[in-house]
Symmetry: D2
Subunit: 324 residues, 4 copies
């Protein structure tokens, strides 16, 4: 199983939460690139086009060239910029909504210029917090229309929606794999896809292996993957597989089975760890898990899956963990 | 707002859980009908076609005639019959799957004979419990094909899927409003719809008002409604509105706004209460909430919703509760 | 029921989340005091002694005097200061732990000087995120020893622990009402108490009314209350009673029944609302709910509670909502 | 690490849920004993003294003698008998409460006669479902008094409380490790202890390793353990370690570290599996995990725990899994 690894570049820096505005020092763009480059298995970076990165595109380009890292995806910033406080692509303020579409087109152009094929929309601010405070039909329609417009803007770039049940909103519109696939199938553009975040799926009580299967089945729409781990009820953005070890094995097996070809991107919030070390540790887990899956007998796995037997599945899992 | 109320007939009897096989005495079919009839606002009954009811169809018909109650929906029993322990419409055992389809066709014929327009599939056993123990694509396809076959069997009957994230399986295939609508839109039959259970929606962290909106938006597929309440993380099947009072108001408002015309069916598990009294109490809550909604000014509500303001929404809710 | 209301002063300003560093503009201390003062029912303020407030104690004193607002509680900042990233009172770094104790003593002295009787410890950083990464016995002992030392430092000030199941840590040591009362009873100081945050209780699947009862029963330790609301699985810090309306009524009834005499402090995170307006709206909800409780017949409520009947309880709740 | 394994005897038979009254055939007591005996690593059985078992005590004694299995614990049936529908030791009906105490004394006498040292109370019916429907102080006091009476009845038998956040009640009184330890410390009898159910702890968002530590720290009260697994939000009662693999390793390590000497009892609900095979599979997992822990270097583990470093912990876990 050949996997290309990438990382959201800010993951190797330091982060904050809603209480503490900075757990660690600030890192320059050059430093972040150098830190990514120092992790052997990673060949790509993902960039959120925040105002700061937009001001420093020349630096980004230089760093990409010098490090030889590939730009795996570009994410539109519709969550850190306070202009999107009350919504971006579904904003009822038409000026804000147009600004979001412009920001996304800028990201598409930037990706296109650098040979990157994936633009991600994580519409964290599109949703609602209170009851009687949103027109669900109207706002979902606005969102859907924006995605369609972006898909048609450049058909060579995949527009990938990253769904998440909640946070920062208490309720997101792009919430689950089913809701998102339904919208994408309705939009009906070949370059509309899903960016599946492992932790987001788990947070919504999805089994990510099944989410991969659903993306395959309904339009072959899985185009990008973010990985991290959590305790099942919140997006803790931890080092991978420290909680969901067996579920990760099944997830990787289904990526192999459905022939996923894209990047796998580390996406963590290392509040109390060194960012680079936390990503490196996730990379070590991935190597270990991939080796376990590759050492396992696919025919035997398929036989167990076809049997539908939990007893056989449980025995199989132990066998996989023992490395055969 | 004119609402037709109905109730799953066994709700007025007694129930059990996985520890205690019978919290109360058994009630005859005639007794259950009499108990339903004693609740003034209820004009319909819903029946799960268990083996026991199948053996007593003549009694059921007689009781319907004598009480004047309408048959609001017929549900196929694919969860109480142990033959469906490992799946029904998605069973990998082809004999079991065919038996499920036959049971559903029997229910369709029975509904048709009695002038009932709704047949509900609650595929509680279709899903999985352990990892590496199911072929998600194959089994979802089997399920979808079965639903299509049933929709085509009698186009005058609405086949309604009742989704639920989990239980009795730890993971259900027909899990959320999005997943279900996506499948129904893929099946693409006019008589394929959704039976929305309020508690099931809440259990999956859906806001039921938004689920109603999504059903409207994506194919106008809301055909039946089950109501009860719970604490948000399990299908507690309680008396309505004792936990989610304001969410119930918003839910009812969206039913009004989207012009829902079907039945609202009480669906509870009164483990420690008298079944009839628990249903009657839910009926009292519904009258109260409907009156609050009908007394409110729809134009004002629409204005607040359009404003997207939580402050205005919070004020509005208090105003609605105060009865204007 | 006479209630004294207070508010965490920063609540009336603007806030941030882990993605967006500032949703609104910065407010000066004077502005914040003026905004609190503009809400009629509020007579107190609560202050977290962050570095910024510590630098401006003279301003705080002046504002208290000029506005006539009472200092309801002082909270030690062991969560915004990055020095406590890996723990405060339970930190394994002894220097950090001593610094936390010093910060707490400073808060105690400041409270004492201003006639405030409540110092709150919200030990958000004391806990752990990963498995095999903490010595639960040793760290809990360190924490308990620190609380004891603080209780003995000034016996006229109540040291109140604010428990919370998680966040910012994935697992907090001071997690639930039971865990906290157990530790306080073990410490065995009269001035050790609980600061019950409504939303924290709900987030841990507690029923806050029952938590109030437990505090009464095991040492009469309820000394301070923070209020807000959430959807049951995360500390959403919303305007009160918009989700848990009936649970709020029961909570207020048990405060009355157990003769709670302290402040009730608004504690919200109004990410997308004006902070002052969101607090004012919560104050309006409180007036409404208190009026409903005061209009209800306590003897009737006690009779229903003693009956243990959900049917009677459900009828009673509707009666209370209707205002008798 | 020497572990004695036992199993709730009915686990090797078949079970039901609230929808399906019997997923498999009934097994006789003799058959159940034979099935337990067929699993090599199990040396004990646990018995819930239901009406059926009470009628067949002679058979039970004969089977214990013939199989050589030890009686690891006796559980009082206060959840399957419908007389306890509205409570047992906390029942407000004094006759019911006295009957519960008598049933418990019968269990104590039976345990005593057969040389068993552990009697477990799992008070599943003691709690409440609705708001305004229980007097939390009065009922908790009744419960506590009953436990004290039972502890004093025979000081040679440990009375162990099995806590669980919810189910069958939506809210249990004996809910979390903290709440339970607090009550036990208040009761203050040496033979009052905890029966920790792994799945119950997880369901309440506890980390079972930490719960073990808390039992050690506050009175050394851990006396019995039930094991199974679940997805974190409900008591799914699955085969062990299929979900929480790493958490199980930490849990076992803390049992070793705190020198736990009692039985570890399998406690599962194999709805769709053969009961004996599901228990046998859990036994295989336990052997595998114990071997991993025993092969690991305790000094290294202690060093990592003392470091408080998630990075080191994550590396350590991989090393343990690799069998080093």
């Amino acid at each position: 199983m050949n996997i290309k690894y990438s990382v959201f570049i800010s993951n190797v820096a330091s982060c904050n939460d809603r209480y503490c505005s900075a757990y660690g020092r600030k890192f320059s763009i050059e430093e972040m690139f150098a830190r990514v480059k120092s992790i052997p298995s990673i060949s790509g970076v993902d960039i959120v086009l925040t105002e700061e990165f937009k001001k420093n595109l020349a630096v980004v380009k230089k760093c990409l060239k010098e490090t030889g890292l590939t730009l795996a995806s570009v994410a539109v910033d519709t969550f850190a910029n306070p202009i999107y406080q009350k919504g971006s692509f579904a904003a009822i303020d038409e000026n804000v909504r147009q600004k979001a579409i412009e920001d996304a087109k800028f990201a598409i152009d930037f990706a296109s210029e650098l040979g990157c094929k994936i633009v991600t929309l994580w519409p964290g601010q599109d949703g609602y917090d209170y009851m009687f405070a949103a027109d669900y039909i109207k706002e979902r329609k606005l969102f859907s229309d924006a995605v369609k417009e972006l898909c048609e803007y450049n058909k060579n770039i995949d527009i990938t929606l990253e769904y998440k049940l909640k946070e920062p909103r208490t309720h997101s519109y792009i919430s689950t794999v089913g809701t998102t696939l339904m919208m994408l199938n309705d939009i009906n553009c070949d370059n509309a896809g899903i960016a599946l975040d492992y932790g987001h799926a788990v947070l919504g009580y999805e089994n990510p292996a099944e989410s991969v299967a659903m993306c395959k089945m309904y339009g072959d729409r899985l185009r990008h993957i973010h990985i991290n781990d959590n305790y099942g009820v919140w997006d803790d953005d931890m080092i991978v597989a420290n909680v969901h070890t067996i579920a990760y094995l099944e997830f990787l097996y289904w990526l192999k089975k459905t022939d996923y070809k894209g990047y796998i991107t580390f996406d963590q919030f290392p509040y109390r760890e060194d960012g680079r070390d936390a990503v490196s540790e996730s990379a070590e887990w991935m190597s270990y898990l991939i080796e376990l899956i590759d050492n396992a007998d696919s025919k035997e796995i398929e036989k167990v899956i076809a049997s539908g037997s939990p007893i056989e599945a449980s025995k199989l899992i132990r066998k996989i963990l023992k490395g055969n």
